[in-house]
C-alpha cells in the first residue's frame, strides 16, 4: 500500500518505550482486543436494530453511523490516553468512546433518544459525549470539534496540567478551512493535542481523489511545523504506537502532531446508505485487511489468545450489549415539556 512515515519527530524514545511495554503485556493486549470486539459487536447490534425495526415505531431514532472496519484507529488511538486526557471524537470513534469509559447503556440510550441519554434525547446517534469523562460532544459540522479541542488543550496548558487532547477527524473534514486554522493555531502555541486523521477514503460518496490532490494528507503537517505521519490504520498496534509517541511528545510540552491513519469505510455513510458507489472489489481487498482479524491472528500466533478466551470475551460482550439494549429499551422517552427544561 506504500504506507510510510513521511516525517519523523525528533528522537524520543520515551513514548515508544512506554508503548512497547504495553504491547508486551498479555493483559493489555487482550484488553485492546476486548475493545475492538466490543466496538464491532456493539455497532453490529446498532445496524441489526436499524435494519430490523418497525419503521412506524422505530426504536433507534434516526440512522446508525458505524466504524466497522476502522475500529483499529479509534481503539488504538484512545488506548494511548491516560486518566485526565480529553477526547474530541469524530463520526467514527465508537471505539474511542468505549475506551474512554462511555458505556453500552449510554450509547443505546442515545440511539434510542431516551430521556436519560447523555443528551436527554435532545440529540441522537453519535452526537454524543460525556464531560465527566473528558469527552467533547461531537457535532455534524465536520472538523468543527477540532478548534474546541484546541481550547481544551489551551486550558490544560494554562493550568500547567500534564494532560493532552486527542483530536479526531476524517478525510472529508480535512477539506474544511477550520481544520487548517486549528492545526496552525495548535502549532503556534505548542498545544498538547494530537490530531488523528481517519482517512477512510470516502466522504459520503466522494472518493479521496476528489477530496484532495495529495495522496497522503499527513504531508500537510510540514506546513504547520508539526510532525506528520501516515500509517496503516488497520494495524491497531501501529496506531497505538504512533499515537502514544505523539501523545507523550505533547505531554512533554513539545506540541501537536498529525497522524494520518489509512483505512477503508466498510459500508455506507450510515445504515441508510448501501454504498453502491463503492466498487465491490474495493470492499473485497480491504476485507482481507480487517483490523480485528489481523490483530486476532497476531494474538493467536503469540499464544496470548486461545479459542476458549475468544469465546469467553465474545460471550461477555454479548451479555453487556444485551443488558444495555434491554435497559435502554425500558427507559422512558422524553416528554414534550422536557424540551424547555434548563440543564
Amino acid at each position: 500500500m506504500g504506507l510510510h512515515t513521511i516525517h519523523s519527530s525528533p528522537a524520543n524514545t520515551a513514548g515508544n518505550a512506554a508503548a512497547e511495554e504495553v504491547l508486551r503485556s498479555p493483559e493489555r493486549l487482550l484488553e485492546i482486543y476486548y475493545y475492538l470486539l466490543l466496538t464491532r459487536m456493539l455497532e453490529n447490534k446498532v445496524a441489526y436494530i436499524c435494519h430490523n425495526q418497525n419503521p412506524q415505531q422505530p426504536i433507534i431514532i434516526g440512522k446508525g453511523y458505524l466504524s466497522t472496519g476502522q475500529e483499529g484507529i479509534s481503539v488504538g488511538a484512545a488506548y494511548a490516553l491516560e486518566s485526565g486526557d480529553w477526547l474530541a471524537p469524530s463520526h467514527r470513534d465508537m471505539g474511542a468512546l468505549m475506551v474512554r469509559g462511555m458505556t453500552c447503556r449510554q450509547i443505546f440510550l442515545q440511539y434510542f433518544a431516551r430521556a436519560s441519554s447523555p443528551t436527554w434525547g435532545r440529540d441522537g446517534n453519535v452526537h454524543v459525549g460525556d464531560t465527566s469523562k473528558q469527552i467533547l460532544f461531537f457535532i455534524s459540522h465536520m472538523g468543527s470539534n477540532l478548534p474546541v479541542g484546541n481550547g481544551v488543550a489551551a486550558a490544560l496548558q494554562y493550568r500547567g496540567a500534564k494532560n493532552v487532547v486527542l483530536g479526531c477527524f476524517g478525510d472529508g473534514a480535512s477539506s474544511q478551512g477550520v481544520v487548517h486554522e486549528t492545526m496552525n493555531y495548535a502549532s503556534v502555541f505548542k498545544l498538547p493535542i494530537v490530531f488523528v486523521l481517519n482517512n477512510n477514503r470516502y466522504a459520503i460518496s466522494t472518493p479521496l481523489h476528489e477530496q484532495c490532490a495529495v495522496e497522503h494528507l499527513a504531508l500537510r503537517a510540514a506546513g504547520y511545523g508539526m510532525p506528520g505521519k501516515t500509517i496503516d490504520g488497520n494495524n491497531v498496534m501501529e496506531v497505538y504506537r504512533h499515537v502514544k509517541e505523539a501523545v507523550e511528545r505533547a505531554r512533554r510540552g513539545e506540541g501537536p502532531s498529525l497522524i494520518e491513519c489509512k483505512t477503508m469505510r466498510m459500508g455506507g455513510h450510515g445504515t441508510h446508505d448501501p454504498a453502491t458507489y463503492i466498487p465491490k472489489e474495493e470492499f473485497e481487498t480491504w476485507k482481507k485487511r480487517d483490523p480485528i482479524l489481523g490483530y486476532k491472528n497476531y494474538l493467536q500466533e503469540q499464544g496470548i489468545l486461545t479459542e476458549d478466551q475468544e469465546q469467553s470475551i465474545k460471550a461477555r460482550i454479548e451479555g453487556e450489549i444485551e443488558e444495555a439494549v434491554e435497559y435502554a429499551r425500558t427507559q422512558p422517552m422524553p416528554v414534550a415539556e422536557d424540551l424547555l427544561k434548563e440543564r
Binding site: S144, P147, V148, G149, N150, G151, A154, T182, Y185, V188
Partner: protein, 324 residues
C-alpha cells in the same frame, strides 16, 4: 470616583475580573503588547503577562473555538474579535458549536466574545456593522450592547461571571467619546435589565447601544415642542427585559423602535411583535421602526450619515405618533 471613557471602563472591567479570578484570561488578535486595535487591552499584558493576555493568529474560528474549549475545561476566557464584522469567519463555532452545547450536553460554557461593533467612523462596510440580529436568532447565546461607561464595566463583569456564552458588542464610536464617573471597585449590572434613560409620557422609544444618544438628543428637542419621549435602553438583547418595555408602553401607548442595524430583519421587528402580542390593547397608534437603510455601510460622510436613522427622523416619527 475615577472618570473613565467607555473604552477605559471596559479595560477596567477586564482588569477587575482578571484580578479577582485566575480563570479569566484574554485572547485575540493583537491584544497583548499592542493592546488591541482600539487599545482596549492596553497595559493588561504588562500586568498579567503572556499567559493571561494571549496574542492569537488571525483565525476567528480558532479563537472562538479556543474560548469554547477552554470554558468547557473550566476557564473563563474573554476573546476579542477585532471587529464584530469578522465574527462571521468564526460564525459556525458560535452558532453551531457553542449555542446548542448546553442544551445538548448540560455543560455550561462561561466565555465572552468582545467585539467593537457599529459605525459612524467612516470605515465602511467591513468595519462598521451591527450584527446583533444574526445572533439574536440562535437559542443559547446572550447578547449585551452597553451604551455608557458605567454600564460597560458592570455589564462586562456580569458577562464574564455568567455561566453561558455572551456576545459583548461594544460600540466603537463610544470608546473615546464618552466619559463619566465609574467606580474603581467591582460591581455587576445584571444581564436582562433595561434602564429608562429619560422618563417621558407621550411616546416610548426602545433602543440600545450608541443610538441611545440620538434618542436622547431627539427627546430634548421634542420636549421644547411639548412632546415627552421616554427612552428605554435595553442594555442586553438576550436576555430581553420585556417587563420594562411593556411597562413603558402601557403608559405611553405609542412606540418607536430604533436601531443602527438595517431595519429589515432587525431586532425592531421582534420588538414590534412583542408589543402586538402582549400589549395590543394598549396600542393607540402604529408602531414605528427606525433602522439603517438596506445597503452595505458606505464610507463617505454624507453617505454614511444618510445611511443611519437621524435625530430628525426620530422627531418626525414621534410627532406622527402623537398626532395619529
Amino acid at each position: 470616583m475615577p472618570n473613565m471613557s467607555y473604552g477605559e471602563a471596559i479595560r477596567d472591567g477586564l482588569r477587575t475580573a482578571m484580578r479577582a479570578d485566575e480563570n479569566v484570561y484574554l485572547l485575540g488578535e493583537d491584544v497583548a503588547q499592542f493592546g488591541g486595535v482600539y487599545g482596549i487591552t492596553k497595559g493588561l499584558y504588562d500586568e498579567f503577562g503572556a499567559r493571561r493576555v494571549k496574542n492569537t493568529p488571525l483565525s476567528e474560528a480558532a479563537i472562538i473555538g479556543e474560548a469554547i474549549g477552554a470554558s468547557i475545561a473550566g476557564l473563563r476566557p474573554v476573546a476579542e474579535i477585532q471587529f464584530s464584522d469578522f465574527i462571521t469567519t468564526g460564525f459556525s463555532q458560535l452558532v453551531d458549536v457553542a449555542a446548542p452545547y448546553t442544551f445538548r450536553s448540560g455543560t455550561h460554557l462561561p466565555f465572552v466574545i468582545r467585539a467593537p461593533s457599529g459605525g459612524g467612523l467612516r470605515i465602511g462596510p467591513y468595519h462598521s456593522k451591527s450584527l446583533e440580529a444574526l445572533f439574536f436568532h440562535f437559542p443559547g447565546l446572550k447578547i449585551v450592547m452597553p451604551s455608557t461607561p458605567y454600564d460597560a464595566k458592570g455589564l462586562l463583569l456580569a458577562a464574564i461571571r455568567d455561566p453561558d456564552p455572551v456576545l459583548f458588542l461594544e460600540h466603537k464610536k463610544l470608546y473615546y467619546e464618552l466619559r463619566e464617573e465609574v467606580p474603581s471597585d467591582s460591581y455587576e449590572i445584571p444581564l436582562g435589565k433595561a434602564v429608562v434613560r429619560r422618563p417621558g409620557t407621550n411616546v416610548t422609544l426602545v433602543t440600545y447601544s450608541a443610538m441611545v444618544y440620538k434618542a436622547l438628543e431627539a427627546a430634548a428637542k421634542l420636549e421644547q415642542e411639548g412632546i415627552s419621549l421616554e427612552v428605554v435602553d435595553l442594555r442586553s438583547l438576550v436576555p430581553l427585559d420585556e417587563a420594562t418595555i411593556l411597562q413603558s408602553f402601557a403608559k405611553t401607548n405609542r412606540a418607536i423602535i430604533l436601531h443602527e442595524a438595517p431595519k429589515r430583519g432587525g431586532i425592531g421587528g421582534e420588538l414590534v411583535s412583542l408589543l402586538c402580542e402582549k400589549a395590543f390593547d394598549y396600542l393607540a397608534a402604529p408602531i414605528i421602526r427606525l433602522g439603517a437603510k438596506m445597503t452595505p455601510i458606505p464610507v463617505a460622510p454624507a453617505l454614511e450619515d444618510f445611511y443611519y436613522p437621524s435625530v430628525d427622523e426620530i422627531i418626525q416619527a414621534a410627532k406622527r405618533l402623537v398626532q395619529y
